[in-house]
Amino acid sequence: MSIFLEKRAQSSRLLSALVPLLAIILALLIGAIIIALSGTNPWEAYREMFVGAFGSGYALSETMVKTIPLILCSLGVGIAFRATLWNIGAEGQLYMGAFAAGGIALAFPQGQGWWLIPLMVLASLVGGALWGLIPGFLKAKLNVNEIITSLLLNYVAILWFQYWIYGPWKDPLGYGFPYTAPFGEGAWLPTLAGTRIHLGLAFAVLAALFLYFLLKSTRVGYEIRIIGENPQAARYAGMNIPGTILLVFAISGGLAGLAGMGEVSGVIHRLQPAISPGFGYTAIIIAWLARFNPWLTIAVSFLFGGLLVGGYSLRAFGLSDSLVLILQGLILFLLLGGDILTRYSLRWKRSRA
């Protein structure tokens, strides 16, 4: 007996709407089995996660805080996907953006000028973009596999970031802890009254708008889409493919860099060895789940922000928040499998014809 696929005459509309939802539900069910096997009541663990993420005004605001970097990173990864480029390096680009913005903030500890925040934003965009341009350049000019290079650069970026915190930028008044001095208040992004939701949210929404219009109504956006959908045609049409690859990586890296700025300027207010629980990796799933649509990206990011925040509540049960990564992996598996079922139907066959 074997399983084979039969192409549907028409891809199922209903299924393609249902698949992401089903993927998440099924992933939670499989996750429940894993939790149960580790000796915890899965229902209680999930309830704790849900309450921790969405159950109160405070929880919702914390979820929103995590949503901000997720939106920015996912938009970056998503635009690369649109051009069938794989930017697995958002994590490192985020760190480089935070490094650049943090450098500016530390250079002006008393800085109260209106220009400080815009300068930090600019620095983070440039820092992330330059870091993204390394795999972009290697891909565009030498056709080096960007998946591997962008991923390996994450390790390099984080080590670079940590060198500065453990070394030259360590706070002399910090009792030897690996932190930089706190930023001056002029380098703090304003927050929404009573919460930690910061101005980065506006950046994220603006970035979504920017990408939406870029893809929809500019020549560059058109070229990005064509290169993604039909590179052969793009080549015949004489499009500048290497140039577009560079541009895509610069935008993608810049957005991740901006996410890093938001974290250090809006939330942490200084630099510390770890500033991201893997936003750049989660972004890959979000981009895929949102099918690279900028608006859906915002909604899905909120969901995954909740998953991250909910994950912290698991510690109360003595469970590792690695469960969040498990769920993310499962969602991606199920989504991939489910995607196929919208285009094909599964048939069982007793023996090979």
């Binding site: 399983i3 696929l5 039969e6 192409k7 894993i34 580790s38 794989w86 697995i88 290697l138 030498l142 056709n143 080096v144 596999n145 998946i147 591997i148 290079t149 991923l151 390996l152 650069l153 390790y155 390099v156 080590l159 670079w160 940590q162 060198y163 453990y166 070394g167 990796y281 890959i284 799933i285 895929w288 469970l319 590792s320 690695s322 469960l323 969040v324 990564l325 498990i326 769920l327 993310q328 992996g329 499962l330 991606l332 598996f333 991939l336 499998g337 995607d339 196929i340 079922l341």
Partner: protein, 311 residues
């Protein structure tokens, strides 16, 4: 004195290169049939954890290795089912595998972080061969898993290039439609080698937790899976060149580690970067070489195969 340091560094390079070597060989098997599995990092982590857990329970490192091999293979079957049967996007499925493996190993391994084990793979003098000057000291004062990897290289090479099943495997990776017409089961062969590739990745992971640093640490594979994926390109899908590449990386690792121990003026952060930077440089070089000498990847790498859609 200095000579001894050189010998010790080279011996350490072999040790550091071995987990990468196993993973690279595994990926070569899968990619030779057209299946790109970016889940190496996840499979290595699961292998490292399973090996460690089973060994600490049974006190038998061999049982640990066996469990690691099986767990790596089983994890690879998820990728196989998604990409072969369901024809899903191979890159995304591999990334999902890595996340899943990272999460699962972190989740299940929490209780044994840093716990020491009493039995693990210790180096021993290989009879006779260890007496050879230089070669003996570098290559034959190692542990059993290193000796097995020496054997595995010629076996895999012979298998791939000189046997009928090896021919079928390459046919499936180069031209699945023709292989199918010849009556070879494309799916069957892809399943088989994706599974075996996962087994070897699991073994590579277990090398880390049962021989290299006999302990379990979260994310202890530390990017070696990704380095291995890059090395497959460097090796142009050839087991012997995989050996060369892996030991080169072992050497980078061993030298930077020794430099840290000697308290070199360069901050450890920069020394820790060297394996990743070196991998990128090697990848750039290898990409240019493969393009120049037409040593392309298996032609069907990354592409699903569907018989009924042929025209």
């Amino acid at each position: 004195m200095t000579w001894e340091i050189v010998l010790a560094t080279l011996a350490a390079a072999i040790k550091a290169g071995t987990p990468i070597l196993y993973a690279t060989l595994g990926e070569i098997l899968a990619e030779r049939t057209g299946i790109l599995n970016l889940g190496l990092e996840g499979m290595m982590l699961i292998g490292a954890l399973t090996g460690f857990l089973i060994c600490s329970m049974s006190n038998d490192p061999w049982l640990g290795v066996l469990a690691a091999i099986i767990s790596g293979g089983l994890l690879a079957m998820i990728h196989a089912f998604l990409t072969i049967t369901l024809r899903a996007q191979q890159v995304v499925s591999g990334l999902a595998l890595t996340m899943f493996g990272m999460g699962l190993s972190g989740f299940l391994g929490k209780v044994v972080i840093g716990v020491p084990i009493s039995s693990y793979f210790r180096p021993f003098d290989f009879p006779f061969l260890s007496q050879i000057p230089f070669i003996g000291e570098v290559f034959f004062h190692q542990d059993a898993l290193v000796y097995i990897s020496y054997l595995l290289i010629p076996i895999l090479s012979f298998w791939i290039y000189r046997t009928r099943p090896g021919l079928h495997m390459r046919a499936v990776g180069e031209n699945p439609a023709t292989a199918d017409a010849m009556g070879i089961s494309v799916s069957g062969i892809r399943y088989l080698y994706t599974f075996l590739g996962g087994c070897l990745a699991g073994l590579g992971g277990a090398y880390l937790s049962l021989a290299y640093t006999p302990v379990w640490l979260e994310n202890m594979v530390a990017g070696r899976g990704w380095i291995a994926i890059a090395l497959v390109i460097f090796a142009s899908w050839d087991p012997f060149k995989a050996l060369l590449g892996s030991y080169l990386f072992g050497l980078v690792d061993a030298v930077q580690f020794r430099a840290q121990a000697l308290g070199l003026a360069v901050p450890s952060f920069f020394l820790n970067m060297t394996p990743y930077v070196a991998t990128i440089l090697v990848l750039v070089f290898a990409t240019r070489e493969t393009a120049r000498r037409h040593l392309g990847a298996p032609a069907a790498l990354g592409l699903p195969f569907a018989r009924e859609e042929k025209t």
